[in-house]
């Protein structure tokens, strides 16, 4: 270039035009906020405002540093987040309240006839024609702009009407994962709980809850923050596409590689993550478990049998159930001389320990001399009056003596034990045993470790049906796994050896980053348990840089205890109406009617008194107090309690007995047994912060049909449950349009909005104040208003307070005095309820008496004060002083007193309360009362825990006691949480959070039966399904799923992994994301599969099965495996969708092709870690075992 085209003169005169772009880049102010979307990013953003308009956003880069050896967090935030500003002023924005036109007409007419809004509502919904005039138009356009007054009046009237007519437990609400905007979540849930409505769970519904975590650890989920990946020296990604779905964290993976960390990616497609792999393993989708089983075989053989690694042995002896004793029972029916795996041996069986409190819940080991001993830490010691024995010391609870436990009985007697594996011959394998004398005679026992060795096929010189070597095609060898995974045995052995070596060399810094690609299969718990076994065998749980980093939907409300109290209104009412959503919608969207007996595809050994249909199983689970169900009864709970009083019940105990008698006699029934009865369905459905009808609705078309009555459902499945269900009442015609009113608070016109009756304009994330936390990092972030709510929008908190106000106004007439309500709540984890059911006994079958809280649900009697509902909503109630979660607790009355002085007050009925009208005050309350942000409370909570544990713990809070984080602090910069016993990880000294480090370093037990990490699940139902030990079961057989019956075209396994251009459906309709992708709904196909069906890239295709129809465009690519159709989660059916040739209607969305299938082993309850808690336990909404037909749209 000639030099004359370099302009050295930069004076304003010569290059004044440059002001043009400078002006564009200028802004008036910057406000820190974040995105309340259902992702785990938790990113802090700086929103740039110019002329009162949000111009753009850029990431904050002022996160506090770790200790300097680990990369810091900036700049967290991805392509989706940075697109958010588009939404604020786009034509997609919900700017005003909207009402379905026909509904508004009916309302206007009714209001002319009835001055009272509740009577007006009754006149509409009690007239079938009038009701159908608007329910039949759901989703078909015809919205009309309304006003706040009308909208809230209809909502309040319908809610009050429902409470009076059917019961408040017919008013339900769904909002996803709270953590990303926890106050907005709390807005709706607080209203519902004060009302007596139902909060629907999300984590299990999304199938993001990994049931293996409760099974093995008694923990919902606890994971490493992403910075801790950097400490791992061997990372396997399995069903997790880190750059795509954990975008802001991905740099820790790429950076760990420069530290020499080996990265293995298991993914059936050549995914974004595969780019970062050292080794990419295209494991057959859904069969990752086979790979892990075989890897464990190699580890057990080479690192446990042929050679012992002291570090590994010490680890499994102290921290796992390996040394615990299992009783073997003769099983002559199956084979001569065969024995069968029995229960974990209980202290109650021995004279010396039978008198221990909860001896049935105390487990046994054998010491090296063969004596049976009862170590500290079993669940029994968690709930005994005698405190101080609930710890991981190998000391005998009976006499306090040290125990040197035997891991194996190898070299002594053996028995042949029966092992059953799916799709394989039964195996009789010799297992080392001991005979021990119990109070009622001699029995044969072995250790969990010895059983595990046999299960995995490592013979250690024992005889029986063991594989002879890696080449033998028997469970669970490297050769055996080839047919399931497609991975060569030699490659597996190589990876397994590296895994073992790294575990040894790094002292347990192996890590598995795992997610939806694995967790969404029917047998996800088995795949996870196989992977967890590989971690446990290498001492890689409870250390930094180690463990099961489960990332899907796992957001963490860091200040959990005060948040729960406020969100569930426990500051006013103890006892919450919480519902696990998978079974709720399985029943209420009538998907059970289309589901055949589960025993066809998931077979128990004998089915001993076990229902064979998931709906029946669920009914059993509800009546035994394993799972909740709303509505509870086939009668209005308010009316029931009135009747009890009328019939002379003077107090709560009498009322409970009265109700138990009615249930026993059948006068009152659980509503779950007749979900299609007109009074037993949900009537008012609130949706906020989410896309409940589309992105979340597994079996979307069944929702359209049965829940909404929308005319364009494309479900064609047959009602095969007829004649199969036993306990559930069968109605010949399934109801449609079960719900009277659907209310959606939203800032965008998404699919749920389109199908709702009332749409309320919600403030966006740049227009309101809230708190934001995640488990991908350990900071508390603020969401804050860069601009005021645009147009007529309001924050969720404000909207629900308006609804609450209206409800209280109408209550003055309709429910003028406080009334009693009864909550049927299941036996809860982390309460003594988890040791309620030593054996499965069904009162309905006469096997025991119905006893609330023991053999059936707890019956909590609470008071509803509808007239003061609004006052309570906006006032911090007196119950706030006593807080806790996960079985930990602490008092905070003094902090509450302080808040009353510091924060604005609200007075009514002669008392003063902290005024919660302003979300920023709510934020201050939460932060002030959480051990994670208040060091004094952390100290207190540890103090309480150390009494139970019997070991010093309070020192963990040292150095942090003075820390108080307030709202103003988090608006300045992200603030890191502090150590708290509510969580199992430790973060002091710039240390990244890794779960279970509290357990490993301070010997606090896991919240399981043994108190240890549990590889053996001895509940009889697990043994019935041969899932007591980790095992492998493959994808469900498509022939048994009733989805593609008789179809001969291109039939593919339908996969919906999380995508690149949306966070679920949010952003998927954002013009930025649509522009950078293919501009709308698409399904990815392998190039050979597509060619076979005559489909080219970017053609209109139709994808269908018995569940529904999708119309979209094709993306043809060689990186997709043959046999799979990939539709990234989650698009909207609102954008440029064509009509289906098959149904003649507008094509649906990914969930049009899915439906719910419940795994019954996840419905158990009242038994140690298999006990219910909200979002902790229950069957999950699996969706990967699904098949579709793909053809050109012609």
């Amino acid at each position: 270039m000639s030099h004359d085209r370099i302009k050295d003169d930069c004076s304003a005169h010569n290059r004044q035009w440059e002001e043009l772009y400078r002006n564009r880049a200028q802004y008036d102010k910057v406000v820190r906020s974040t995105h309340g979307v259902n992702c785990t990013g938790g990113c802090s953003w700086m929103v740039h405002v110019k002329d009162g308009i949000v111009g753009w956003e850029l990431q904050a880069n002022d996160y506090p540093q770790f200790d300097g050896t680990i990369p810091n967090h900036e700049p967290r935030g991805c392509t989706r987040g940075i697109s958010f500003s588009w939404y604020l002023y786009s034509p997609l924005r919900v700017k005003h309240p909207y009402l379905r036109g026909a509904l508004l007409d009916r309302w206007t007419e009714a209001k002319k006839l009835f001055a009272d809004p509740v009577e007006a509502w009754a006149s509409i919904v009690e007239n079938p024609e009038s009701r159908a005039s608007y329910t039949g138009q759901r989703g078909m356009g015809g919205f009309r702009r309304g006003d706040w007054e009308t909208a809230t009046e209809i909502i309040a009237a319908s809610s009050i009407y429902t409470a009076k007519k059917h019961g408040p437990d017919r008013v339900v609400g769904f909002s996803p994962i709270p953590a990303m905007s926890m106050i907005s979540y709390a807005a709706g849930s607080r209203f519902l709980q004060l009302f007596g409505g139902v909060a629907l769970s999300f984590y299990d519904w999304y199938c993001d809850l990994p049931p293996a975590s409760p099974q093995v650890w008694g923990e919902q989920t606890d994971v490493n923050e992403s910075a801790d990946w950097y400490n791992a020296s061997y990372i396997v990604l399995c069903g997790s596409n880190v750059p795509m779905t954990r975008t802001p964290d991905a740099h820790y993976l790429t950076e760990a590689r420069y530290r020499g960390t080996k990265v293995v990616v298991m993914s059936p497609d050549y995914s974004m993550a595969s780019k970062f792999a050292d080794a990419w393993l295209p494991v057959e989708q859904g069969h990752d478990g086979a790979f892990w089983m075989a890897l464990n075989h190699v580890i057990l053989k080479e690192f446990y049998a042929e050679r012992q690694v002291p570090f590994f042995e010490e680890y499994v002896t102290r921290y796992t159930d390996f040394p615990f004793l299992v009783e073997l029972t003769p099983d002559v029916d199956k084979a001569p001389g065969a024995w069968r795996q029995g229960e974990l041996l209980r202290a109650a069986r021995f004279e010396r320990s039978a008198s221990l409190e909860h001896a049935e819940w105390c487990l046994c080991v054998a010491d090296k001399s063969g004596e049976v001993r009862v170590p500290n830490g079993s669940l029994g010691s968690r709930w005994s009056k005698q405190e101080g024995n609930w710890n991981l010391d190998m000391k005998d609870v009976v006499d306090g003596a040290e125990i040197d436990p035997a891991l194996t009985f190898l070299g002594q007697e053996t028995r042949k034990v029966l092992f059953r594996f799916e799709g394989e011959k039964d195996a009789l394998r010799e297992v080392p045993v001991r005979r021990v004398a119990t109070a009622d005679g001699e029995i044969v026992v072995t250790t969990v470790f010895d059983l595990l060795m046999a299960q995995f096929g490592v013979s250690r010189g024992l005889s029986g049906d063991y594989p002879h070597g890696y080449d033998s095609d028997l469970p669970f060898t490297p050769k055996w796994q080839e047919k399931h995974t497609g991975i060569d045995a030699e490659t597996l052995v190589k990876i397994a050896r590296e895994w073992g070596e790294n575990g040894e060399q790094s002292r347990g810094r192996n890590m598995i980053i795992i997610g939806a690609g694995v967790n969404h299969w029917y047998h996800n718990d088995l795949i996870y348990r196989a992977a967890i076994t590989a971690l446990i065998l290498t001492g890689s749980v409870g250390r930094n840089g180690a463990g099961l980093a489960h990332y899907v939907g796992q957001e963490k409300v860091a200040p959990l205890s005060p948040w729960t109290s406020i969100a569930m209104a426990q500051d006013w009412v103890k006892g919450s109406r919480l519902q696990n959503t998978p079974t709720f919608w399985y029943m209420h969207s009538d998907q059970w009617r289309y589901d055949r007996n589960f025993v066809d595809y998931f077979k128990p050994e004998t089915g001993d008194k076990m229902p064979m249909h998931a709906a029946d199983f669920n009914a059993k689970a509800v009546r035994l107090g394993w799972l909740p169900f709303a509505p509870h009864f086939n009668a209005n709970p308010l009316e029931l309690l009135k009747q009890a009083k009328a019939e002379g019940c003077g107090d709560d105990d009498a009322t409970r007995s009265w109700l138990v008698d009615r249930l026993k006699s059948g006068k009152t029934r659980f509503a779950v047994e007749d979900p299609d009865a007109p009074g037993n369905s949900p009537k008012v459905w609130f949706i906020w912060r989410g896309n409940a009808i589309s992105a979340s609705a597994k079996g979307h078309e069944f929702f359209l049909k049965h829940v909404l009555g929308a005319p364009n459902s494309s479900a064609t499945a047959k009602e095969v449950a007829k004649g199969q269900v036993q306990d559930i009442v069968w109605h010949e015609k399934a109801p449609e349009a079960k719900v009277d009113l659907v209310v959606d608070l939203n800032f965008r016109m998404d699919t749920s909005t389109l199908y709702s009756d009332i749409v309320l304009p919600a403030a966006t994330w740049y227009e309101k104040s809230d708190l934001n936390t995640t488990d991908m990092h350990s900071f508390v972030n603020c969401m804050d208003a860069a601009v005021p709510p645009s147009w007529e929008s309001k924050s969720d908190w404000k909207i629900f307070s308006m609804i609450a106000k209206k409800v209280s106004e109408l209550a003055a007439t309709h429910l003028p005095t406080p009334v009693k309500d009864v909550i049927a709540a299941p036996l809860l984890h982390d309460t003594p309820g988890e040791i309620a059911q030593r054996t499965v006994q069904d009162w309905k079958l006469g096997e025991c008496e119905p006893v609330p809280g023991k053999t059936m649900p707890n019956l909590a009697i609470v008071e509803r004060d509808y007239v003061n509902l609004y006052n309570r909503f906006l006032s911090l109630g007196p119950g706030i002083g006593h807080l806790g979660s996960h079985g930990n607790y602490y008092d905070a009355d003094d902090e509450h007193e302080k808040l009353l002085r510091e924060l604005p007050n609200r007075s009514w009925n002669g008392k003063s309360f902290v005024d919660l009208a302003d979300e920023k005050v709510v934020a201050d309350v939460i932060l002030s009362l959480a051990p994670e942000t208040n060091g004094e409370l952390a100290h207190r909570a540890y103090r309480n825990l150390e009494k139970r544990v019997g070991k010093p713990l309070a020192q963990i809070a040292d150095g942090a006691r003075e820390i108080r984080v307030k709202w103003e602090d988090v608006t300045q910069k992200p603030r890191r949480v502090i150590n708290s016993p509510i969580w199992s990880g430790l973060v002091n000294g710039g240390r990244p959070y890794s779960p279970f480090t509290l357990n490993v370093e301070h010997l606090v037990p896991w919240r399981t039966l043994s108190g240890r990490q549990s590889l053996y699940l001895d509940h009889p139902y697990y043994r019935e399904f041969h899932e007591g030990l980790p095992t492998f079961k493959g994808k469900l057989n498509p022939a048994l799923l009733d989805e593609t019956e008789g179809e001969t075209g291109l039939v593919l396994n339908f996969l919906t992994p999380h995508g690149k251009w949306g966070i679920h459906s949010t952003y998927s309709d954002n013009l930025r994301m649509l522009t950078l992708s293919r501009g709308g709904q698409a399904v990815w196909l392998n190039h050979l599969d597509a060619a076979g069906a005559g489909i080219e890239d970017n053609e209109q295709i139709e994808v269908y099965n018995a569940n529904g129809v999708v119309v979209c465009r094709s993306i043809v690519s060689s990186r997709i495996p043959r046999g799979a159709a990939v539709m990234y989660h989650a698009p909207e059916r609102t954008l440029n969708i064509k009509k289906s040739k098959k149904s003649g209607k507008r094509g649906g969305v990914h969930n049009s092709l899915s439906r719910i299938r419940l795994k019954p082993t996840l419905m158990l309850g009242g038994y140690a870690q298999f006990s219910y808690y909200f979002n902790y336990w229950g069957p999950t909404g699996v969706n990967r075992d699904s098949y579709v037909v793909v053809r050109k749209l012609k």
């Binding site: 270039m1 030099h3 085209r5 050295d8 003169d9 930069c10 004076s11 304003a12 290059r15 002001e19 400078r22 564009r24 880049a25 956003e57 850029l58 990431q59 540093q65 990369p71 810091n72 700049p75 935030g77 991805c78 392509t79 989703g139 078909m140 356009g141 020296s233 750059p243 975008t247 740099h251 950076e255 420069y258 530290r259 020499g260 960390t261 050549y270 974004m272 780019k275 050292d278 080794a279 080839e482 060569d488 045995a489 030699e490 490659t491 364009n712 909005t753 389109l754 690149k1060 950078l1076 501009g1079 709308g1080 890239d1097 970017n1098 209109q1100 465009r1113 993306i1115 990186r1119 609102t1134 954008l1135």
Partner: protein, 484 residues
């Protein structure tokens, strides 16, 4: 020696996660307006793929960049004849379908649709014509993640063997983020008949003067990277401005700021403007080395003296010493120019990426023999592919860079696990322990201000007192009567 300073960006492709956050931050701030909808000053491409605009690398078609004509450089598209002939018609310029027709959706229909028998949708329409689009046919990232691999990836000019992407044994993909390269020998600047384009003396940023530009569009054709765009609304050319309003005020470019993969580095390079043309005349395989030779050592006293003579401030010289870009380009020789054979001497540099080991695909998927950290010979991405992109076909240059990354990983693994290290491996890769530590830090724990060393720009030359006094720094551009 004519010492000049430029502010320059490096991209570590080994870390790029292909998320496109950079593209949106740029779009939000700079091109979110009519006439610029289709412009992506920053875009990210999947490789193999055809990119944006489609097949921009094909200079047989687009005729961008320079060619050596005897002993002189000549713009590929322009002799004297064609210039006049193409004054009103740019035959080599990409058409809108080579970019894509920018689309939008009738979102308002969702709340506004009348009651009907079927569900309403928001249909697509063109942002240019306003007409309905039945089928969207293209976008700025249409072949993302090997979308339509048989149609697009297979057409990648750098990919010699198309079969590679069809088989699980050998398939690969990587990402290539692209901005304007702010070249040392910019073809766009040379091509402009109005002299609207220029390279800023103080920082090397190449700009189109929006007051001078007449919309001839020679620049659009001449840029071999297709990073100058035509705004159909204003009738002027526009391009990446290296976020000069941000950089001038010590802020990092929006794209680099938002790079959540932390792949980008911004810093100063000193170069000898007198050496540029000779370097551009070298043969393809020598271009990278010649390009490196143009870059000067900021620690060399003679360079500093000459720099000061040219008005380069001490603060810029300090920044040049602390420059992560200098370290990666010159010191460690791992960052390479994109398509140096276009001979514009691009001033954006790329660190090539490692990749997974190859496998053999019979009945089962079997990985090639490899160690804990796979060696160069076993990696999936063909060296020739990377050489075609980043070294004018010189495979040795690619191997040198990748070997450094591998040796670094082996070394750090040993340190991490306290295992004996093999110093020979480092040495063979051209590193020692100190160098490895520095490189490691840059790739990992280096924070925002280490990855981006933005020199302060002194603006007091621009009549500061008057500007400070005027209300609003430029709002009152014109006094009554229109005088400036």
């Amino acid at each position: 020696m004519d010492v000049r300073a430029q502010i320059v960006m490096v991209f570590n492709l080994d870390k790029c996660i292909g998320c496109h956050t950079c593209s949106i931050s740029c779009k939000n701030i700079w091109t979110d307006r009519q006439g610029a909808e289709y412009m992506w000053w920053n875009n990210v491409e999947t490789k193999p793929g055809v990119g944006y605009p489609s097949q921009w690398e094909d200079q047989e078609r687009f005729k961008g960049g320079w060619v050596v004509d005897g002993k002189k450089l000549k713009l590929k598209a322009m002799g004297k004849g064609p210039t006049l002939a193409s004054m009103f018609f740019q035959p080599n310029m990409p058409r809108i379908e080579d970019y894509y027709e920018p689309f939008d959706f009738d979102y308002g229909n969702l709340a506004g649709a009348k009651e009907s028998k079927d569900q309403p949708v928001a249909e697509a329409f063109s942002q240019i014509s306003g007409k309905k689009i039945e089928e969207i046919q293209g976008g700025p990232n249409w072949d993302d993640d090997l979308s339509g691999s048989q149609v697009y990836a297979a057409k990648d000019l750098n990919l010699k063997d198309k079969k590679v992407i069809e088989s699980y044994d050998s398939m690969f993909m990587q990402y290539l983020p692209r901005i304007c390269n702010h070249c040392l020998n910019p073809a766009c600047v040379a091509s402009c008949p109005s002299r609207a384009l220029y390279k800023r003396g103080e920082d090397g940023i190449v700009l189109v003067d929006q007051e001078v530009c007449k919309g001839w569009r020679f620049c659009t054709s001449a840029c071999p990277y297709k990073k100058v765009y035509y705004n159909w609304n204003t009738g002027k050319a526009e391009k990446c401005i290296f976020c000069y309003p941000r950089v001038e005020t010590g802020q990092c470019n929006a794209c680099a700021h938002s790079c959540v993969g932390r792949i980008r580095y911004v810093g100063v390079l000193l170069y000898d403007a007198d050496a540029v043309e000779a370097a551009a005349l070298k043969g393809d395989a020598e271009l990278v080395e010649a390009h490196r030779d143009v870059i000067l050592d900021p620690r060399d006293p003679e360079v500093c003296r000459m720099a000061r003579e040219n008005g380069i401030s001490d603060q810029w010289l300090d920044a040049a010493v602390a420059s992560p870009v200098y370290a990666l380009v010159k010191e460690f020789r791992v960052a390479l120019p994109l398509h140096p054979e276009f001979r514009t001497l691009p001033m954006a540099y790329y660190i090539p990426s490692l990749s997974p080991v190859l496998s053999t695909w019979g009945d089962t998927h079997k990985l090639l023999e490899h160690g804990m950290i796979p060696a160069l010979e076993t990696l999936r991405v063909p060296i020739g592919y990377l050489a075609s992109l980043l070294s004018g076909g010189n495979e040795g240059i690619i191997e040198e860079a990748l070997k450094k990354l591998i040796a670094l990983r082996v070394q750090m693994r040993a340190e991490n696990l306290r295992l004996p290290a093999d110093p020979a491996l480092l040495k063979e890769a051209g590193l020692d322990e100190a160098a490895a530590k520095k490189l490691y830090r840059l790739f990992t724990v280096a924070g925002y201000n280490e990855r981006n060393v933005i020199p302060p720009q002194q603006r007091e030359e621009q009549d500061p007192e008057r500007r400070k006094q005027e209300a609003g720094f430029g709002i009152l551009k014109k006094t009554r009567g229109g005088a400036k």
